[in-house]
Amino acid sequence: MSGPVLNIEGLRIEIGSGEDAKAAVRDVSIEVGQGEMVGLVGESGSGKSLTCRSAIRLVPAAGRVAAGSIRFNGHDVMAMDREELRRMRALDVGMVFQDPFSSLDPVFRVDRQIRETLKSNLGMGTPAAKKETIRLLDSVGIPDPERWARAYPHELSGGMRQRVMIALATIGEPKLLIADEPTTALDVTTQAQILDLLRRLRDERGVAVLLVSHDFGVIAETCDRVVVMYGGHVVETGPVGETYEKPQHPYTRALLASVPTIESAGTHRRREAIPGRPPELGEKLPGCVFAPRCSFEREACHSIDMTLEQVSAKQRSACPFVRADGARNDTVIGGAP
């Protein structure tokens, strides 16, 4: 079978109902190919979490997919009945959240939680499930899995809990792993280990990964492609390397310019911070959502409809005016008026 594992097209998610409905995600299209690792980067309120959760129809009750299609392995996720949806969530897609502690039941030992999931999702018998539990824990790099399997969630460190969550998410050899800020609550050294683990899952088992993060550094360390979201829109997408070298959209440029780096030690150079603040949920701005904070803002920005255009072989940007050309930060302003 070929074609993308996950294909989201023209997704629009509205919060609230009737006239109060506010669009939190607007016309978002994302594709994750088989065995591909895609990063979804954005700040708070960008709609990145809603977007990734919609892939398994995990949009909170107040929200609603108002338009667009979500396809998993070619199947229409929005049209699935309860049983199909359950099967997809149980077997084909794994989900890892930011806070591993609240996702684990505090009153059961780790092995029991995994075992129960194995039994209900794969129909395993107890002896097989026991063996599989140990194998899973071992596969996510938990040392001495027999011993740690007997631990309660609160006895594990943050990194260990996240490993357990990943073990749970990889039950049934899923085709896709969705990781929503999986390392945000962790220390940097632990973060590096978890990112290593995600990369290994992809390299060794061919699992496609959709990694959501506010930190471009995390995406840069792991992903092949990056999708940049801002104010509910995708503003730019392309290979991670080219996006870093030649960010096309002014927001991506500004975002990368404000990421602190080790290299700036001792220089006392002030970062060019993006002025203002990100738009709030459902804030309706005519034209480009980034225009009020953009240093290239012009009259025409307020009437464009942020569609992605091919701007280089692999990069697409929602800004029709600004283009990166040649070296990083060399900007040619031009294009269609």
């Binding site: 940097v188 995390v218 870093y244 990421v259 780096t261 030690a265």
Partner: protein, 279 residues
């Protein structure tokens, strides 16, 4: 005070927390175990300097901040001097005066402001309690503090919940500035903010140092954040300072193995430098 003296001198600072014993342990007469959160830490914060303290969770960096402001009492033997005045033995009016002079900015801007007070009232209160000059003219006083942190004076009537995280953090800074301190402690003050807002706040801290001559103890788990602002930096691990020096030297030529590990784990936004992580 001598001009060359540091604003803040910390020497031999340790903090032990007794561990809880279970009832069974107590009955068995098991001795109380102690957890050494900070272990013999010494450093100086010079005038107009930004000193970064880096470390992971549990390294003791926040306990250092809490000892310096005497939110917790350090173990006997510690020396903490603010402009030559003894913080450890201060109490009552003296302690309140010293706390006024070294202000703390917290990580979570959502809980550091009283949700029931307008931001103007919070800023004015800080100035009035310490009878700061100008605080008898509320509007001008509050307006001046707000404008110094880059907020419009007109925002004085707003409640914290109407503000974004970055704006709240600015208000918390304005409230601290209202008491006219000589030093700030920023404890993970930008960690909860979006990257684009984080950069604004880092610039604000640099401005405050340059314009008001404030000395800042800047605590963060992100090395890259400290690299942006710190003149000197200290790396903490398991309660000890393992390395301290000029920020550039520490980060470009780390002497300690732990510092090197932290540096290696730092996620680099440049994907071409990927894979140098050896965790």
């Amino acid at each position: 005070m001598n001009a060359a003296d540091p604003v803040l001198r910390v020497a031999n600072l340790s903090k032990t927390y007794p561990m809880r014993r279970t009832v069974a342990d107590r009955l068995r007469g098991k001795p109380r175990e102690a957890h050494l959160a900070v272990d013999g830490v010494s450093f100086d914060l010079n005038e107009g300097e930004i000193l970064g303290i880096a470390g992971q969770s549990g390294s003791g960096k926040t306990t250092v901040a809490r000892c310096v402001t005497k939110l917790v009492a350090p173990d006997p033997g510690a020396v903490i001097k603010l402009q030559g005045r003894d913080v450890v033995r201060a109490h009552g009016e003296k302690l309140r005066e010293m706390r006024r002079d070294i202000q703390m900015i917290f990580q979570d801007p959502y809980t550091s402001l009283n949700p029931r007070m307008t931001i103007g009232a919070a800023i004015l209160e800080a100035g009035r309690v310490h009878r700061r000059p100008g605080s008898d003219r509320p509007e001008e006083f509050v307006g001046a503090q707000l404008e110094r942190v880059g907020l419009p004076a007109s925002s004085a009537d707003r409640k914290p919940r109407e503000l974004s995280g970055g704006q709240r953090q600015r208000v918390a800074i304005a409230r601290s500035l209202a008491v006219q301190p000589v030093a700030l402690i920023a404890d993970e003050a930008v960690s909860a903010l979006d990257v684009s807002v984080q950069a604004q706040l880092l610039n604000l801290f640099l401005d405050l140092r340059d314009e008001l001559g404030l000395s800042i103890l800047f605590i963060s788990h992100q090395l890259a954040v400290l690299a942006e602002v710190a003149d000197r930096m200290a790396i903490m691990n398991l309660g000890r300072i393992v390395e301290i020096g000029e920020a550039r030297d520490v980060l470009s030529n780390p002497k300690d193995a732990y510092t090197r590990r932290l540096l290696a784990a730092n996620p680099n936004p440049d994907p071409s430098k990927r894979g140098e992580v050896t965790a």
